[in-house]
Amino acid sequence: MDFEYTEEQKMVRRNVRAFLDKEVEPHIKEFDKQPFTHDQLVEWRRKLEPIGFGAMDFTAMAGQQGVDPITNAIVGEEVFGCWVGVAAAIGLAGAASMVAFGSDKMRARLGDRFKAGELIGCGGLTEPNAGSDNRAMTTRAVLNGDHYVINGTKTWVSNAQISDMVMLLCKDENDQLTQILIDKEESPYETGVLHKLGWRACPIGELYFDNCRVPKENNLMNIFSELMSSGNVEQDMVKRGLPPDTMTRMGHMFARGPLGLLAYARTGIGQAGVGISSRATEAAISYAKERVQFGRPIASRQLIQNMITEMVFITESCRLLVYRTVIALDKATPDFRMLSSLVKAYVAEATVNVTSMALQVHGANGLSEDLPLERYFRDARTFTIPDGTTEINKLVAGKELLGVSAYV
């Protein structure tokens, strides 16, 4: 066991932090008021590419290729800790990377824009009446000749209203879950906007499919099974401009069905939580040392030290558990599902607690939009819902730990 960062990891954190402080921080206040437009998000994605965040690699959710998972976690902590709005929007736009698996026609139509980083993707999972319970989904794709005809509504979809394409999870004629890629230009769909507590810069909305026609060949499940049975997967990958071992890596991510990807997303929220908690704690420490009341810095008061030591304890113990999870995911150890849900549930809640205390240390200034504390708090509070609420993730972890489900 070893708890030290390598010199390179320390350098990555330093560089990323310096980049964010210089290039991003000064713009947050202006841009975190409204959801990004399509072009704004494309621009921000390009801006963050140099630090290795938001690369249009499909494995982006599982971290950059060839980069060790702790380094990825460090980058995730820093970017999310700096500005959740931009990090969430870019991260979730990564669904567009699925285009690389699309048909020749799709790749011909969208490949260039994808490579240029201009394609904004989104993932349609949640429905008004199907949140934690994905079996209750009613959005359906019915095959009609060589097209699917899709009907239904998806909600709480990040980037919905600025999306170029959708990775849709829905049911087929046989009531089986299936995944379909939808190119908005070819298969238009309507969208709506949702307004919310946090993640202000990240567009979140609804997708409305009203007899939306999508070519049969866009069924992602079919694409993958054909790829696997073709016998020349590695060549095919190279043809698509993907690394030869792509499918092996996909295997880890999807090892547990179409929702396997969630383990990455959930661990990502753990990283985000630790990143936000770190920033908030750092801010509280600085403020407490500077703010003088009753003749001494408030840092010298026991009730302030009570909050700050608790914030440090929570942040540092969560950080280590997130790292352990990140490595478990990378190695696909048997406990990765349990750990990723444990981290999603408890680190997200812990982050609400830490950001709330950090705000409190700042007094009225903690409420002010001139300082980032109120944003940290709103963004942290938001994290306890997506990618499985705290409650459903406790039940996912509980099932892994106890061998019995308590969902119903």
């Binding site: 008004p128 209750a136 009341q293 009753f294 109120e374």
Partner: protein
């Protein structure tokens, strides 16, 4: 001991809740996007005075708009629970009620406004360097002839941007706390707005005093001590249209020094908490009863139907903590 509401108290809650559901609730979504203007707040106050909230009686600061404190608590719970931003703005505007104790000049100029509910007050206490530690205040009022010259900055003042009158807590020449009523028209000062996490509709901001000249007679301590010393307290009160027991009631509020009124404000935050928690719990109960996940109800029958919790007002009576008490 007795933990039951009287029939009258229950009726007050019911009618206040109905009023709020009908007259206030529909306006919140738009109204809470930005801070009130002066006239918007005056309109809202006039609308709420009939249900017992926001009267310009100075004792409104003590949450005693009704003679029975539990009835007052009920009204406060309901209004704060309905719309925190609105309730806070109106409640804190009540600082203007001190004008009734002011000089003939002040009353002549502002009295009508005050009585009609058109006067917005604010209480300026916090300074950038003086929060919990009020002894660190640096805003100072220096007597110069028959005027104070005031210099300093107050921050996190509710209603500052739209206030007509400031009840200012500051220090005098001798570094003693003093309280001065500042009439914005007569003694102009600048203000700015602060943007913040909650209470979106309630304007909060800073007040800048830059050699601001205020008549000496606006010193609140003086007003009261002169009235006391005059030997004609009752006549004075009558002249000002105030009830005879006013000073006794004031005495209770200020019994613990110029910051004594804070005990009332702090208790009001308690009403706020209870009111908003009650509304939030009602909403959670409704939603939890309606929301189906992992079966338990026939989903097929629900397709396309808009869940009731989307359209319902938060005060849905079907599951109300307040009613069950």
């Amino acid at each position: 001991m007795d933990f039951e509401y009287t029939e009258e108290q229950k009726m007050v809650r019911r009618s206040v809740r109905e009023f709020l559901d009908k007259e206030v609730e529909p306006a919140i979504k738009e109204g809470d996007k930005r801070a009130f203007t002066h006239d918007e707040l005056v309109d809202w106050r006039k609308k709420l005075i009939p249900i017992g909230f926001g009267s310009q009686d100075f004792t409104s600061m003590a949450g005693h708009e009704d003679s029975d404190p539990i009835t007052s608590a009920i009204i406060y719970e309901e209004v704060f629970g309905c719309w925190g931003g609105l309730a806070a703005a109106i409640y804190l505007a009540g600082a203007a009620s001190l004008v009734a104790f002011g000089s003939d000049n002040l009353r002549a100029r502002l009295g009508d406004h005050l009585r009609s509910g058109g006067l917005i007050g604010c209480g300026a206490l916090t300074e950038p360097g003086a929060g919990s530690d009020n002894r660190a205040m640096t805003t100072k009022a220096v007597l110069n002839g028959d005027h104070y010259i005031i210099n300093g900055t107050k921050t996190w003042v509710s209603n500052a941007p739209i206030a007509d009158v400031v009840m200012l807590l500051c220090k005098d020449d001798n570094d003693q706390f003093t309280q001065i009523l500042v009439d914005r028209e007569e003694s102009p000062f600048e203000t700015s707005e602060l943007h913040k996490l909650g209470w979106r509709a309630c304007p909060i901001g800073e007040v800048y005093f830059d050699n601001c000249r205020v008549p000496k007679e606006n010193n609140v301590f003086l007003m009261f001590s002169e009235m006391m010393a005059s030997g004609q307290v009752e006549q004075e009160l009558e002249k000002r249209g105030l009830p005879k027991d006013t000073l006794t009631r004031m005495g209770e509020m200020f019994a613990r020094g110029p910051l004594g009124a804070l005990s009332y404000a702090r208790t009001t935050i308690g009403h706020f908490g209870v009111g908003i928690s009650s509304r939030a719990t009602d909403a959670a109960i409704s939603y939890a009863k309606e929301r189906v996940q992992f079966g338990q109800k026939d989903l097929s029958s629900r397709g396309g139907r808009r869940p009731t919790w989307r359209s319902q007002t938060p005060g849905d009576k079907r599951a109300s903590l307040a009613w069950t008490n």
